[in-house]
């Protein structure tokens, strides 16, 4: 088995003084592996990703990245260690152009040549980024904005990628682009921690699946087994699709 | 209520210090002169106490800050009179604050001698216990200057005049007093501007004056605007034969603020540091000891209030807040003539002083009294040198 790049160990975390959202969460992601978190709304999936990327400091437990204990470090430090996080919903810089948004993805990079190469690469992956290069990002449609966010996150060629519901609001074609991208990343050895509501599709391509509820992993195992579990299917993944 | 009009005064009030309640604009628009008045009051209290107090009782001044706000000035006198049960009240600064303050004093039957409510309107409110402790009301401030100008030989006499005045009853009162007299005598008014207190930029007003090329420029000003106007006039190269501004030039900060442009500027003034009127030199000296620096007109006006009230108290031999005593004091002041640092003062039945302001001028960088003849320390320079 390949090495562990990211792991959350027994993490307890929450917001303000309220009761914790995560209550002893443990998740491990290996290089070249896609781990998929599924679970009902409010289970704490996004919170788990925020802890992993340093946006939220856990109350207890540890976060390990590439073998180092990074618990409580701010995001810009983790970024340097190769971590990227695409937030749920829309997080483009609305009143900046697409160009500025994408360039900011490489904010920590000073090497112009490398930046330009990356820009060319992400433009190719997401054509709309090139087409709307000069317009304000806030004026794009929901799905277009999402693509700008991916492009921004991929500017640094990350080794660990956290994706929070990447397919939300995307049309089928763009959804496929995103899943293809995830697949590509896996093949190049990137570790992916994926949160998806489109659970059937996500579990189909993931290596490992975790069902999160009330801040803990309730069930985990090889993704295909989870998807096939009939009771789990009925309870979490909804009625059998019409196909 | 303990302060029900006519309620018996508790015996405690017959002893202990004589409390004098004063509200002053220590913050806000009028804080500069407010401070001056406060110092004048303090010098007076200091000297009275050194002399053994009023009727043998120590004088204690209670100050409140009204933040230049008429609402507050009322609250202040209300609380001073009914809660602190002061024996006497002295007035605040500025005509704008004197009117509401006097209303309160009037309705509680308190004598109200004030240092700085010069506007004509102050005396038209039907107050029966108000006296303005300075030589003349606003519209008479320039009387000597008007006389002087009108007596000039026809070929030297200014033909045109420009007036710019702050929208304030006192400031306008001074400028219009002069304007009305000159206009009646045929001096043409070529500019007559009123600007609101918000005004910060005086260059365009000066430009307007410059375009009219007047012989005479008169500013109805307080401090900030007098500096602004003088600077702007200088920058726009307005060269009148005579320039006069109320209030501003009488303050010590003025010459430095206008950077050499003060020379030959005229200003009405009710007091002079060199005058030998009763108590003046002692006041100037004590002021310097207490506060460092030179006394100014505001301090003198505060001091004057003290002198008048002191004389009245000593004459009628009471300082109670009761109606009888306050009536007696009022009566006395209305009829008497009082020797003060600004000269002998007497009042008409509305509380208006019946004397006149002097005119000062910066001559060779020094403040000199140039009018009237009998009080002058230097001769008036006319026409003034160019800016």
């Amino acid at each position: 088995m390949s090495e562990v790049v990211l792991s959350l160990e027994d993490v307890v975390a929450g917001y303000g003084r309220a009761a914790p959202v995560l209550r002893g969460l443990t998740v491990t992601v290996r290089a070249g592996e896609v781990v998929c978190l599924v679970g009902p709304n409010g289970a704490g999936k996004s919170t788990a990703l925020k802890v992993a990327s340093g946006l939220l400091a856990p109350r207890s437990g540890r976060v390990l990245l590439a073998g180092r204990d990074v618990t409580g470090l701010p995001p810009q430090r983790l970024l340097g260690l190769g971590l990227a996080h695409v937030l749920q919903g829309h997080s483009v810089f609305r009143e900046m152009t697409v160009a500025e948004n994408v360039r900011l993805g490489g904010f920590t990079v000073r090497d112009q040549a490398r930046l330009n190469a990356r820009i060319a690469a992400v433009k190719e992956l997401f054509p709309v980024v090139g087409e709307r290069w000069g317009s304000l990002a806030g004026l794009l449609s929901g799905g277009q904005q999402k693509q700008v966010e991916f492009a921004r996150a991929l500017m640094l060629e990350p080794t660990v990628v956290l994706l929070d519901e990447p397919s939300m609001g995307l049309d089928p074609r763009n959804t496929s682009v995103v899943f293809d991208q995830i697949d590509l990343m896996r093949r190049t050895g990137v570790a992916v921690l994926l949160v998806e509501q489109n659970a059937r599709r996500a579990l189909e391509m993931a290596d490992l699946g975790c069902v999160l509820d009330l801040g803990r992993v309730h069930i985990s195992g090889p993704a295909r087994d989870l998807a096939a579990d009939p009771r789990l299917g009925r309870l979490y993944l909804g009625g059998a699709p019409s196909t | 209520k303990t302060d029900e009009p006519g309620a018996a005064q508790s015996p405690g009030q017959q002893q202990g210090p004589v409390k004098i309640g004063i509200s002053l604009p220590l913050t806000g628009d009028f804080s500069e002169p407010g401070k001056g008045i406060q110092e004048g009051y303090q010098v007076w209290a200091d000297q009275v106490n050194a002399r053994g107090g009023l009727l043998g009782r120590k004088v204690e001044l209670i100050f409140r800050d009204d933040a230049s706000d008429p609402n507050r000035v009322s609250s202040d006198y209300e609380s001073l009179i009914t809660q602190d049960k002061v024996n006497l009240v002295f007035g605040p600064f500025s005509s704008r604050l004197v009117i509401p303050a006097a209303k309160v004093a009037e309705s509680y039957g308190m004598l109200f001698v004030e240092p700085a409510g010069a506007a004509a309107e102050v005396f038209e409110q039907g107050f029966t216990r108000l006296f303005y402790a300075a030589p003349a009301i606003a519209s008479d401030h320039y009387n000597y200057l008007a006389d002087y100008i009108l007596k000039l030989p026809a070929d030297q006499r200014p033909k045109t005049a420009a007036y710019a005045s702050l929208d304030d009853p006192f400031a306008q009162g001074t400028a219009y007093g002069l304007r009305d007299k000159l206009a009646a005598a045929g001096v043409k008014t070529v500019v007559d501007e009123v600007y609101p207190p918000e005004t910060t930029d005086f260059a365009p007003i000066a430009a307007k004056i410059a375009a009219a090329k007047p012989d005479l420029v008169v500013g109805g000003t307080q401090f900030e605007d007098s500096v602004g106007l003088v600077r702007a006039l200088q920058e726009l190269k307005v060269q009148p034969k005579l320039a006069a501004f109320s209030t501003g030039p009488t303050l010590a900060e003025f010459p430095a603020a206008v950077k050499g442009a003060a020379e030959h500027i005229l200003s009405p003034v009710g007091w002079s540091s060199t005058a030998t009127f009763t108590g003046n030199q002692e006041m100037v000296k004590r002021y310097k000891e207490l506060f460092g620096g030179e006394a100014n007109e505001d301090a003198a006006n505060g001091y004057t209030v003290g002198q008048i009230v002191e004389a009245a108290v000593n004459a009628v031999k009471c300082v109670d807040p009761t109606k009888e005593c306050q009536d007696k004091l009022t009566q006395h002041i209305r009829q008497g003539t009082f020797d003060t640092v600004v000269g002998p003062l007497s009042f008409d039945d509305k509380g208006r002083p019946e004397q006149a302001h002097m005119i000062q001028q910066y001559v060779n960088g020094k403040v000199e009294i140039v009018l009237p003849e009998q009080a002058k320390t230097a001769s008036i320079v006319y026409p003034k040198q160019e800016w």
């Binding site: 409010g42 749920q88 709309v128 004026l139 999402k146 049309d171 089928p172 509501q197 059937r200 979490y236 | -």
Partner: protein, 243 residues
């Protein structure tokens, strides 16, 4: 007969033609679907119909009446309700208070009457019950999970008793089990006589639920018809479904 019809709607934002010459007709009393790639103008179309954006040209007809330039609240009074792509509720009001905002008709007396004295609270509870969130009545809306907020938004819209309901991506970001519930709800409400227009990228949902599907591409409808037909339409395959 059709309750909503548009004629030649056009809207450009700067250089971007968001909607161009869109003439659409809904099937009355049915569940209509609206699909199209990201940025094809679906949300803009909603905004024009509900009066939140003025079209550059074209008309919106509701029950034969021209409502093109009516203000949003008048359109709401006329019986058109909508939800938003990113769920919008009143975060600092309680769930019940959220429910009491919607108005269909406004007469001064009704406006000023105490809410608790009229039947309104009962009606609100009725809808909350149907959404299955009646136990949250006193909670502040911002404390609800995303899925619950989506249900609340729908319930609040239904308070105004709309005859036509526009849903913008009702399944976006919602866990699969809840999607089933929303589908069931929409079917029930439709059976009670309400017309629906649903924008959605979840093809299983659209094809399984809708009676009539309209396809947008680059701001204009390119096809319309029953799901079975649409699924096979080559233009649609090319523009949207073709993967």
């Amino acid at each position: 007969m059709s309750s909503l019809r548009t004629e030649g709607l056009t809207k450009a934002f700067g250089g971007v033609q968001a909607v161009s010459d869109a003439s659409v007709e809904l099937l009355d009393g049915k569940i209509n679907g609206l699909i199209g790639p990201n940025g094809s103008g679906k949300t803009t179309f909603f905004n024009i119909v509900t009066g939140m954006i003025r079209p550059d040209s074209g008309r919106v007809l509701y029950r034969g009446r021209d409502i093109t330039r009516h203000s949003p609240h008048r359109i709401a009074h006329a019986g058109i309700g909508r939800t938003f792509q990113l769920c919008r509720i009143f975060p600092r009001l309680t769930v019940l208070e959220n429910m009491l905002v919607a108005v269909r008709r406004t007469r001064l007396r009704e406006l000023l009457a105490g809410l608790r004295d009229t039947g309104e609270v009962e009606r609100a509870r009725h809808w909350l019950r149907r959404m299955g969130i009646e136990h949250l009545e006193e909670a502040e809306a911002r404390d609800l999970s995303y899925g619950q907020q989506k249900l609340l938004e729908l319930a609040a819209v239904l308070m105004a008793e709309p005859d036509l309901v526009l849903l913008d991506e009702p399944a976006g970001g919602v866990n699969p089990a809840l999607i089933d519930r929303i589908v069931a709800l929409v079917r029930d409400l439709n059976a009670e006589g309400r017309t629906f227009l649903v924008v959605e990228h979840n093809m299983d949902m659209v094809m399984g639920m809708c009676d009539h599907v309209i396809v947008f591409d680059r701001g204009a409808p390119i096809a319309a018809g029953p799901p079975a037909v649409i699924r096979e339409d080559p233009r649609v395959l090319e523009a949207y479904l073709g993967v």
